[in-house]
């Protein structure tokens, strides 16, 4: 068996692993990241879905905008098909099916493999946690103030900036004003109010003002920054023809991986699925010594030994790897999963209503940023504009409901005109109204509960061992919060003049996932496992709760940066110039 050594082995190059690796690289620590999926936009893998390609990459010169343009077509079937799409949870080899999970209930899991992980299709929404979710809810062993220096660093480097107002955003803002909400202008949210999203999307060129367009091709180098093409869900590769690291949507592969490579101390090995955390049983304690992994193309097994192991494989695979490695379970491994218990409310607008608000007859959901405006409701969650291309609209808004079909439901007395899954003529009529449609997503502040969990399904194995078993059900308190958000969203749409409001009553959509390996439960306040030395967790599973319903990437990355400094402080001789309190 091939064996190698490094200082820190990281499992997973998703949203958070590259943040930790970048900071460790800056501190002079050698890092190898093992990533299960492909590496898009890299010259080592010119045909990542068809051939094994190279072995590892750590040179910024490997990153290729040209390949990124070829591989990310912006077409939703190509990119987002959950079975065959370029962006899916599965091996790089697209002749093979997705990787299996056992989900014994109505639900949808929307995680991605590959460098960048689920940020490859994220909308780059970077709100901080709600202050009260960290300081007043009981789960966090650290304070909100401990996170702020790391938030500030990310806001500077991605950068994170207010999303631009576009016609669909203005429809939302006007609905919010009429419903009586004030504008939130602060980064630290404690009161209900509306605001543009803090987004990790470089702001657009001023020549992209409405009516100012000169019919140019909106491509680099003529245009830098966002081009308002709304292809975040399809991989967000704009502006076309730009160097890889200058794409406007700052997914971790575009923003943090190049910075990590710049340090000269970080390499990523894609197509490497970790199957075992290696340990030494010391006197009275277990100590991590490395990771065993399987090459997904060659089907060979290798070992990477390290002084410290960091799990950043996400809320499902991190506990699966932990349990399949036989590491100690104190009762909370894989437990306490939060999901923001999503729902959608959608407004369809008559041309006159939109014209009077924004001077054009249609909402045009396919233009502008996918999610650029939001309503914060601390203690309850958030309601945000969430717009998609048609296939994803039909899938998420009209097909992903639970319970009875819309034709078997009565909505008398409700603030929505229809509710539930749509089919037949009603579906086709709603989809024919696509360009007059504004969709809002409800992000519920759901709370960690032990029964909501990721364990392993011992009865079902793939080549990486027993597969994860994922179960999530809402508590009645979470249902009540979601209902309140749906009502607030419907009220906002009605105030803006919607002619028809539809509520999805979504089944569990597991896209935002948090807290399945929570700090304060499985991990200590530095992100290190309480029961295994030299083993840290630095992904959203380490979050102590669902951060109040705020999009979790910003907090996940901030915590990963903080954990990097803890790793260096405890095992690599300290941190000379820490970003936060060295603790």
């Amino acid at each position: 068996m091939r064996e190698r050594e490094t200082d820190v082995a990281v499992v997973g190059a998703g949203g958070d692993g590259p943040a930790l690796a970048w900071r460790l690289g800056q501190l002079g620590v050698d890092v190898t990241i093992l990533e299960a999926g492909p590496f898009y936009g890299n010259e080592e893998w010119p045909a990542p879905n068809d051939a094994p390609g190279g072995e590892a990459s750590g040179d910024p010169a490997d990153l290729s905008g040209t390949l990124y343009d070829e591989q990310f077509t912006s077409r939703e079937g190509d990119m987002n098909d959950p079975v065959t799409g370029t962006l899916r949870w599965g091996p790089a080899d697209d002749d093979r099916p997705p990787w299996q999970r056992t989900v014994p209930q109505q639900a949808l899991i929307a995680q991605l493999s590959g460098v960048g992980g689920t940020t490859q299709h994220y909308y780059a929404n970077h709100p901080r946690a709600f202050v009260t979710a960290v300081d007043d809810q009981p789960q966090w062993p650290i304070d909100y103030a401990d996170l702020v220096p790391y938030y500030q660093l990310l806001e500077e480097v991605h950068p994170v900036e207010p999303a631009p107002t576009t016609p669909k955003a203005e429809v939302f803002f006007e609905g919010a004003r009429r419903a009586g909400y004030d504008l939130n202008e602060g980064l630290n949210v404690t009161e209900a109010g509306y605001r543009p999203f803090p987004n990790a999307i470089s702001q657009p060129d001023e020549r992209l003002r409405r009516d100012g367009g000169d019919g140019d091709e909106y491509r680099y180098p003529d245009y830098e920054g966002d081009t308002l093409a709304m292809h975040e869900h399809q991989g967000g590769p704009h502006p076309r023809e730009a160097p890889f690291r200058e794409r406007a949507r700052r997914s971790s592969n575009v923003s943090l991986v190049p910075r990590a490579f710049d340090t000269g101390n970080v390499e990523i090995r894609p197509n490497a699925f970790a199957t075992d955390v290696l340990t030494d049983d010391g006197p009275g304690s277990v100590e991590a010594t490395g990771v065993e992994f399987r090459d997904t193309w060659a089907a060979t097994t290798e070992r990477l030994y390290a002084d410290v192991v960091v799990l950043a494989a996400g809320c499902v695979e991190t506990p699966r790897l932990w349990l399949n490695s036989g590491l100690p379970d104190d009762g909370w491994v894989g437990r306490g999963l939060t999901t923001h218990w999503f729902d959608f409310v959608t407004g369809i607008f008559e041309p006159g209503a939109v014209e009077s608000l924004v001077g054009q007859p249609a909402v045009e959901p396919h233009q502008g940023q996918a999610a650029g405006s939001r309503l914060d409701v601390p203690g309850v969650g958030a309601v945000a504009v969430n717009t998609f291309a048609p296939g994803v609209t039909a899938m998420a808004v009209y097909a992903a409901g639970r319970g009875e079909w819309a034709f078997d439901r009565d909505t008398a007395g409700e603030p929505w005109d229809s509710c539930g899954r749509l089919a037949g003529r009603e579906l086709k009529e709603r989809m024919a109204d696509y360009r007059r449609t504004l969709t809002l997503i409800c992000h519920t502040d759901d709370r960690p509960r032990r029964d909501n969990r990721v364990v392993v399904d011992e009865s079902t194995e793939d080549e990486h061992g027993p597969v994860p078993l994922v179960e999530w059900e809402p508590h009645p308190d979470d249902d009540a919060r979601r209902d309140e958000l749906a009502r607030r969203g419907a009220e906002l749409l009605n105030e803006a003049g919607a002619a028809h409001v539809h509520r999805t009553d979504a089944a569990p959509i597991l896209l935002h996932m948090q807290s399945s390996m929570a700090m304060g439960k499985v991990l200590d306040a530095g992100g290190e496992a309480k029961n295994v030395d030299r083993l840290f967790v630095a992904d959203h599973s380490a979050l102590a709760n669902g951060v109040g319903g705020a999009n979790p990437t910003h907090t996940g990355q901030a915590l990963a940066l903080r954990t990097a400094e803890r790793v260096a402080a405890r095992y690599f001789g300290g941190v000379d110039d820490p970003v936060g309190d060295p603790g």
Binding site: P104, L208, G391
Partner: protein
């Protein structure tokens, strides 16, 4: 037409049917999923859900699940009929359909049958009673079907040219773009580091 394809045709037809009643919005709004060959695209995907292992992998990369799903749809249709939950009578199946009970239900009753597989039917009841993950995956699989059908239909997948699918045309979606001049300004110029 095979049993599997004919049963999936009845599923597709229930979710995205031909709609002569929408002709007033334009002729492009009349055809539905069968016109686009959607049932074949869905069968292909269902047959690619799960990878084979061990000896089974000699026969192919993926478990051919679609025939089993078609049989489950028929079992659910039978349950709907036995429990007298069907609201319309049985009918002769459309030419594109297979001959099982699922294909003989009205469109809405087919979706009510699908609902029994997700919840409320015998499989869901057994899964509750025995707390069996393997039975629960039937619920997951059943609820994936409308998601898959509606996604594939309204994406570009069924288009011959990779773009102008029926779904995209009916949604009046112009397809991928390099960008749009739609900037109106900024509601907030920059966020404050406010007290908390």
């Amino acid at each position: 037409m095979s049993y599997t394809r004919g049963t999936f045709a009845a599923l597709v037809d229930a979710l995205v049917p031909e709609t002569p009643g929408l002709a007033s919005r334009g002729p492009e709004h009349v055809p539905g999923g069968l016109e686009a060959g959607l049932e074949e695209a869905v069968v292909e995907r269902v047959n690619s859900f799960v990878e084979t292992r061990g000896l089974a992998s000699l026969a192919g990369d993926a478990v051919p699940l679609a025939p089993a799903v078609a049989a489950l749809l028929d079992a659910a249709a039978a349950e709907l009929l036995v429990r007298r939950r069907a609201e319309a009578g049985l009918r002769s199946p459309d030419d594109a359909f297979a001959g099982g009970p699922f294909c003989r239900l009205s469109r809405e009753d087919r979706l009510r049958a699908l609902r029994l597989l997700e919840d409320d039917g015998v499989v869901a009841a057994l899964s509750e009673r025995f707390d069996a993950a393997s039975l629960g995956t039937v619920q997951f699989l059943a609820s994936s079907l409308p998601i898959l059908v509606e996604f594939v239909y309204y994406s570009e997948t069924t288009a011959d040219d990779g773009e102008h699918s029926l779904g995209w045309r009916q949604a009046d979606y112009p397809g991928p773009s390099d960008g749009y001049p739609v900037l109106l300004g900024y509601e907030v110029e920059s966020f404050e580091e406010n007290d908390y």
